[in-house]
């Protein structure tokens, strides 16, 4: 889990994870999209990025199912698709 910085502690030192659960989305940004790519012998024919998209789409769908029933509305995020003007 990333460190919320609401408290404005000046000079706060970098915080190690210290056993906190890392947010899955932060992990996927790095584990699925980062690291050195070498062509393994068992290769996934689906391009990596498609794989991520497929998985995330499924995750969005499952999260949304819970979200819609629990949360009325929620702020739409025009930045989410990378369309920063």
């Amino acid at each position: 889990m990333s460190t919320a910085r609401d408290e404005h502690l000046p000079g706060q030192s970098p915080i190690a994870w210290q056993g906190q659960q890392i947010a899955l989305v932060d992990l996927l940004d790095r584990v699925l999209a980062g690291g050195v790519v070498i062509s393994g012998e068992i290769t996934l024919c689906i391009a990596d990025i498609d794989l991520v998209r497929i998985s995330l789409r499924a995750l969005v769908a499952s999260v949304r199912a819970g979200w819609d029933t629990n949360t009325a509305g929620g702020t739409a995020n025009p930045m989410a698709k990378g369309n920063i003007p």
């Binding site: 050195v36 790519v37 998985s55």
Partner: protein, 264 residues
């Protein structure tokens, strides 16, 4: 000849001086992690069953989010544990070989790449910074009082126009803030890049994510970097910043992603 029942999952490349895998470490299949040692480089690997990790079953598993999450966390756990005692070059999730000879061949074929990657990240750590804004705080205050002279129709149209303009302005201001913050942080880093903003439904945040950055920072500047994150957080009241890390240098293992300010 008996058919093989396992494949080799690769986690990270480490200098050959590294002796053995961290004790008790298990990987994506719950398997003990071991080290394949080469002349100058070694690689952390695990033997995983083909029944789950051959092409077809693996593809099916990757569509299963619970499986994907567990495997992603396990992959990270191994790399993160190794990074505590050595420089490591993380390898992309789901890199698999049939036998050790092939793994050794890759180690020597890619020796230069891996060696320069190790040099690039030595004594440095990746930090993640995400920035969110509350769009309401970016929007200009509505300063147009309801006028009696307007018909309800024109008043509505004017309101709509003002709303649309307000949205555009807010987005522009948000993008400016993101750029300011990214530039300030990239100045303290030897490498910087932006991941695409995360979907609000996945990351469960409110408002807009305006920055999802990774920064490769010299370890002696880590405090300074964290202070800069704090300072941006305080300078811009409408922005909330989150620092994450230390991360193994997942985002900085190839040369072309190294340039400062690069947008991915």
């Amino acid at each position: 000849m008996r058919a093989k029942t396992s494949a080799i999952w690769l986690y990270a490349v480490v200098p050959a001086a590294q002796r053995g895998a961290p004790a008790g470490l298990t990987g994506v299949a719950g398997e003990p992690v071991r080290l394949i040692t080469g002349e100058r480089l070694s690689v952390l690997v695990g033997d995983v069953p083909l029944s789950d990790f051959d092409h077809d079953p693996l593809r099916d598993h990757l569509e299963d989010l619970r499986w994907l999450e567990e495997a992603a966390r396990a992959h990270h756990r191994v790399i993160d544990a190794a990074a505590r005692s050595s420089d490591v070059v993380p390898l992309r999730f789901a890199t698999l070989y049939h036998d050790e000879a092939a793994v050794r061949a890759v180690l020597s074929e890619r020796l230069e790449d891996f060696t320069s990657a190790l040099q690039r990240i030595a004594g440095r750590t990746e930090w993640g910074v995400k920035a969110y804004v509350d769009p309401d705080m970016l929007a200009a205050p509505a300063d147009e009082p309801e006028s009696d002279q307007n018909t309800p129709g024109t008043a509505y149209l004017r309101r709509r126009r003002a709303q649309r303009q307000g949205q555009r302005d807010a987005r522009q201001r948000a993008a400016q803030r993101a750029e300011e913050i990214h530039t300030a942080l990239a100045d303290l880093a030897v490498g910087a890049l932006q991941h695409p903003p995360q979907d609000a439904r996945l990351a469960a945040y409110r408002g807009w994510m305006i920055l999802n950055g990774s920064y490769l920072v010299d370890d002696e500047r880590a405090q300074e970097f964290a202070a800069a994150v704090d300072s941006c957080d305080q300078r811009f009241p409408e922005v909330r910043l989150e620092l994450s890390g230390p991360w193994p240098a997942y985002s900085f293992t190839t040369e072309d992603r190294e340039r400062q300010g690069e947008q991915s």
